[in-house]
């Protein structure tokens, strides 16, 4: 760490150019709640740090028609203070609110939480369930990538050299929609998900589920979008039978490991329990969103 270079560019073009030109290890810094910690723990020794917080696109929250777009470096706390966003995407905010502590959320961003590429990131499953799409900028231009496709393995993303996630687009909400995210940790705070489950669903006027997305955390090498679990809800009234089927599908989708945070057996079982509980909350929220 004796020759660390720090840059804080003000344009996307400058940021991607700096990252593309670095021969050694380059790291993007938003809140720094992962990068700085990893440096302190001697896990990484970057040659270049590119601080992206001075780039306007990375820090804005805007409305595009009925859809929300927010910058990848927007802090968790800024999102928490955005009243309408909280009302529209309570499940996404369930995840954001679980990142670290209040102090950490003052710095930490959803973009950083995603690009750190942990299978246990709390804001990622509800973003996947929400159908969020990442806008990615690089030396070759800009592309859109569904959030579920960004993480390719523990610590690995699909981003090419020089690419950064700029912002996220969350689709317009139909009426009678609700989302929720639950994670299981032995402690109430300051912990990492042993299992996480996000559910997003939309009901018709009769209360039948017309659309659903279910995503899981910490049960596979990457956050999972589980279509079978969503299918268990679509077309039902999200009744007891549907919830049972959802839980079974969620458990079936898991391919976890035994580690210091939980056993295979435990994670598979609790993934079903949490998916079911999250669906119940999403259902209740959908019912209130006429």
């Amino acid at each position: 760490m004796q020759n660390l270079r720090y840059e804080a560019p003000e344009t996307l073009a400058d940021a991607t150019a700096l990252l593309a030109a670095e021969d050694g290890m380059a790291r993007v810094l938003a809140g720094g709640t992962d990068v700085i910690v990893q440096m302190h723990s001697d896990l990484i020794e970057p040659d270049l740090i590119v601080d992206i917080k001075n780039i306007p696109e990375l820090t804005e929250i805007t409305k595009e028609g009925g859809a929300y777009r927010f910058g990848a470096a927007v802090s968790g706390k800024t999102l928490m203070l955005h009243e309408d966003f909280n009302k529209t995407w309570p499940g996404v905010m369930d995840g954001v609110r679980l990142i670290g502590s209040l102090q950490i959320r003052g710095r930490a961003s959803v973009g950083g939480n995603l690009c750190n590429a942990s299978p246990a990131a709390d804001s990622v499953p509800p973003m996947i369930a929400a159908g969020a799409v990442a806008s990615v900028a690089g030396p070759a231009g800009t592309r859109d990538v569904p959030v579920e496709d960004i993480v390719t393995g523990p610590g690995q993303t699909c981003l090419d050299k020089g690419e950064i996630v700029v912002s996220f687009l969350l689709p317009e909400r139909p009426p009678r929609s609700g989302d929720a995210y639950l994670r299981f940790t032995p402690r109430t705070e300051m912990d990492i998900a042993v299992v996480g489950a996000g559910v997003n669903l939309t009901l018709d006027d009769d209360g039948a589920c017309t659309a659903a997305r279910v995503a899981l955390a910490a049960v596979a090498p990457t956050p999972l979008l589980v279509a079978e679990a969503a299918d268990a809800l679509i077309g039902t009234k999200v009744d007891e039978t549907a919830l049972e089927a959802l839980a079974a599908a969620a458990s079936a989708a898991c391919s976890p490991i035994d580690d210091k945070r939980g056993t295979v057996e435990y994670r598979i079982k609790v993934a079903g329990v949490l998916a079911r509980r999250a669906a119940a909350i999403a259902l209740e929220r959908a019912g209130k969103n006429q």
């Binding site: 004796q2 300051m190 912990d191 210091k260 945070r261 435990y266």
Partner: protein, 778 residues
């Protein structure tokens, strides 16, 4: 304990009186250490910096067990900015020599091997070299250039595995010693010691029993989890003296150990104890100090060393992981007839676990006729264990207090009534030694029984548990000096490091009470090793209990001096002057009609009448005043995830007499929270390579504030008869009952008995799943 009580040890009989200051609740902001801690001005060891200092870092073994064939530091020494490198070759080997270091004993042969590996690396994190350089980054670069040739050996982590005949052996010279080992064994073993103590006839006791319960518990190692990592700054001068600024629970003991390890005179070393960011027994041992001192000696510059959290977990002593077997029997009407226990305790890489202490706490709160306690102290490839708040007691209480719960159930008795029926009281014979003196165990049970907590309703999947604990109060060497300043205010210097942060205030209250001056007029400070005679560590709950004996004696010595000044002024004898309400007064009207003199007035006269008013005490305080506590806990169990939530928690503990009640309540709460954390989630997790998997607070899960409810506290006051203010040690008892109390509460809630620590969600869920088919079949 192995310590014979000295006939010359100091006891002062309890003085029943109405106190003006002691027992009160001063404004928390007036707590002597409070403001500086809040504003960040308090100086912890890592806050000390000396001009020209170097930064030292330790290279540690990545292997659990390996022969160190060679260490090549030549490349590291060539790196610009590196000023010194030390290895095993830079420290003298030590003979076998035992000494007390807090509640546990140390052996200098092992101390020198633990601070710097010699023949073998015995655990993941064992130091093999240390570097001092101009900066931390240079020191880290240098460590990468040190070549260590290891021959990796098979390792053993679990205590039961380490006891097996075919286990990998840690020490070539280790043969089991102790009770019942005859003739001397011819086979080497990881079992360093076997202990045994008996009372009555255990077989006869079991014959009399109508019900017998057997429990086997297993606990993982748990760390003290102090917030402040170890840090030291050492300055070895060309004149041959050393100054060390460090975080310690006993600076005099550290000084003596440094002198031994560095082969120096004790008086050439000064150890300055910094403000301490938590110790709990974990700062009773030297780690960085001798390395920093030797690096400083070689580099001719001060050296500062600060551990990372990773190093703290991997290389400083946690408490023992254990395997305990308990068998207890009672009659149909609830009288315990036999109590038997086997304690198998991990010592870590070197012999010397908390077994000797744990073994005397096993059943010590019950009045028993037939007892057999057997214990094994077992080495394994883990960091050498250190004391941790009531060392060893929570783990054996886990097995015993859950067995008591099951016995009570079998008798159809309330668990508090069952304990009351068997409770120890004054005169109860212990299985390890003397009968108990005046104690307050029954009072804690009665307070629990009468508490509003007992009437709180419980919902489905909720349960209530109870458990009790015992710990002693050690005495030992204690010194204090009080100087009365020219304006009549008092400055106390004491030597029992204020590990709890409340001792300074408690002593200020006692000085104020004795002198008859306001609490705010007393300043209390911990003196460094040059300021006072020898002080044993703050350990064994002795800080306030033993420390205040020296404070009382020193203050009374100063009062005697003040009375002497008044006597000289009045031209009477000193014994004709008494000290009352902060004034020297004639003892009676016959002495003469003199206006009482305040401390401030006497100070103005002091020079003429002989010199400054001061007092001091250097005493060996007698051991005494054991403490007992009873805990009540309510939990909620999530049957689908196994999550145990603590809903309600109440503590009833005998404090002797409370000097500073708010501080005692804080100790009760802190101890219980550590116990709750240990009960539910805290554990050392090892890989199959024998390396620690969770050396950080992310995955070594101590509770956060929102994990615990407000802990209710109830101070029971049965005075210690051998202390002028009736004080008992209180700091350690509160960590003893929580494991058992929570297991009992889980049992009450969902009918499963957990004896595998920690009672984490996967274990609870598994136990529930295993019980479910059985329940369905019933």
């Amino acid at each position: 304990m192995g310590m014979k009580p000295s006939p010359y040890a100091t006891k002062i009989p309890y003085e029943e009186k109405d106190n003006k200051v002691v027992g009160g609740r001063p404004n928390p902001a007036d707590r002597s250490d409070a403001i500086d801690k809040v504003t960040g001005r308090a100086r912890y060891a890592a806050d000390y910096n000396l001009p020209g200092q170097l930064i030292g870092k330790v290279l540690r073994s990545p292997h659990a067990h390996a022969i160190i064939k060679s260490i090549d530091t030549s490349e590291a020494e060539k790196l610009p900015g590196v000023k010194a490198v030390v290895t095993r070759d830079d420290f003298p080997d030590m003979e076998v020599e035992h000494a007390a270091s807090g509640e546990l004993m140390v052996n200098f042969r092992d101390v020198t091997r633990n601070m710097m590996a010699r023949e073998k690396a015995l655990y993941d994190g064992h130091p093999v070299a240390a570097v001092a350089a101009l900066s931390e980054s240079i020191a880290k670069e240098a460590m990468k250039l040190i070549k260590v040739d290891y021959e990796v050996l098979p390792h053993v982590i679990d205590v039961r595995d380490a006891m097996k005949d075919d286990a990998p052996l840690l020490h070539e010279e280790l043969f089991t010693k102790g009770a019942g080992i005859e003739p001397d064994p011819s086979k080497k073993s990881n079992i360093a010691t076997r202990m045994e103590s008996r009372l009555g006839d255990i077989e006869e006791g079991f014959k009399q029993a109508d019900f017998i319960v057997e429990h086997e518990s297993n606990t993982k190692a748990a760390h003290q989890g102090y917030i402040e990592p170890q840090a030291s700054v050492a300055n070895f001068t060309e004149g041959g003296t050393i100054e060390v600024y460090t975080g310690t629970q006993g600076h005099h003991v550290f000084r003596a150990q440094l002198a031994k390890l560095l082969k120096m005179d004790i008086s050439k070393i000064k150890v300055v104890p910094a403000e301490l960011g938590g110790g709990f027994g974990g700062k009773n041992n030297v780690y960085l100090e001798p390395l920093a001192a030797q690096l400083s000696r070689m580099a001719n510059r001060p050296v500062k060393m600060v551990m990372t959290r990773d190093e703290v977990f991997r290389a400083t002593g946690p408490t023992s992981g254990t395997n305990c077997k308990v068998r207890m029997g009672c009659t149909r009407d609830g009288r315990i007839t036999a109590a038997q226990a086997e304690l198998n305790y991990q010592a870590g890489a070197f012999p010397g676990s908390s077994l000797p202490l744990a073994s005397i706490t096993v059943f010590t709160r019950y009045d028993l006729e037939n007892v057999l306690v057997v214990g094994h102290d077992v080495v394994c490839n883990r960091p050498k264990v250190a004391a941790y708040r009531a060392p060893g007691a929570p783990m054996i209480a886990f097995a015993v207090e859950t067995a008591i719960d099951d016995l009570a159930r079998q008798c159809g008795m309330d668990p508090i009534d069952f304990r009351l029926k068997n409770a120890a009281k004054q005169g109860t014979q212990t299985h390890f030694g003397p009968p108990l003196g005046q104690i307050g165990y029954i009072e804690t049970l009665e307070a629990a029984k009468a508490s509003p907590h007992m009437n709180e309703p419980l919902g489905p999947n909720q349960g209530r548990g109870i458990a009790s604990g015992f710990w002693f109060t050690i005495g030992n060497d204690t010194s204090a000096t009080i100087n009365i300043s020219e304006d009549g205010t008092a400055s106390l210097i004491f030597g029992t490091v204020d590990v709890t942060g409340g001792m300074r205030s408690a002593f200020a209250m006692i000085v104020a009470e004795e002198l008859g001056i306001p609490f705010e007029k007393v300043r209390t400070q911990v003196g460094d090793t040059s300021a006072l005679g020898f002080n044993f560590m703050t350990a064994g709950s002795r800080g306030t209990a033993a420390g205040s004996m020296a404070v009382v004696k020193a203050t009374r010595d100063a009062i005697h001096r003040a009375c002497e000044i008044a006597a000289r002024k009045w031209e009477v004898e000193t014994d004709q002057v008494v000290w009352e309400n902060g004034h020297a007064r004639p003892a009676s009207a016959n002495v003469g009609d003199f206006e009482p003199l305040s401390l401030a007035q006497l100070c103005r006269e002091a020079t003429w009448f002989g010199g400054t008013i001061a007092g001091h005490a250097e005493i060996n305080v007698a051991m005494g005043g054991p403490g007992f506590g009873t805990h009540l806990v309510d939990v909620d169990v999530d049957r689908q995830t196994g999550l145990v939530k603590v809903l309600r928690y109440s503590i009833f503990q005998d404090a002797g007499k409370a000097v500073y009640p708010a501080f005692i309540e804080g100790q009760f709460q802190g101890g219980a929270v550590q116990g709750i954390g240990m009960a539910l989630n805290e554990e050392y997790i090892y890989s199959d390579k024998g390396t620690m998997e969770n050396p950080g607070f992310l995955d070594y899960r101590v509770p956060v504030a929102s994990d615990v409810p407000m802990i209710n506290t109830h101070i029971v006051e049965v005075p210690n008869p051998d202390h002028p203010y009736g004080v008992r040690g209180i700091g350690e008892v509160p960590i003893i009952p929580p494991l058992a109390a929570i297991s009992n509460a889980i049992h009450d809630a969902v009918g499963v008995r957990l004896l595998d620590h920690p009672m984490s969600p996967p274990k609870v869920l598994k136990a529930l799943d295993e019980a479910a088919p059985a329940e369905a079949a019933e």
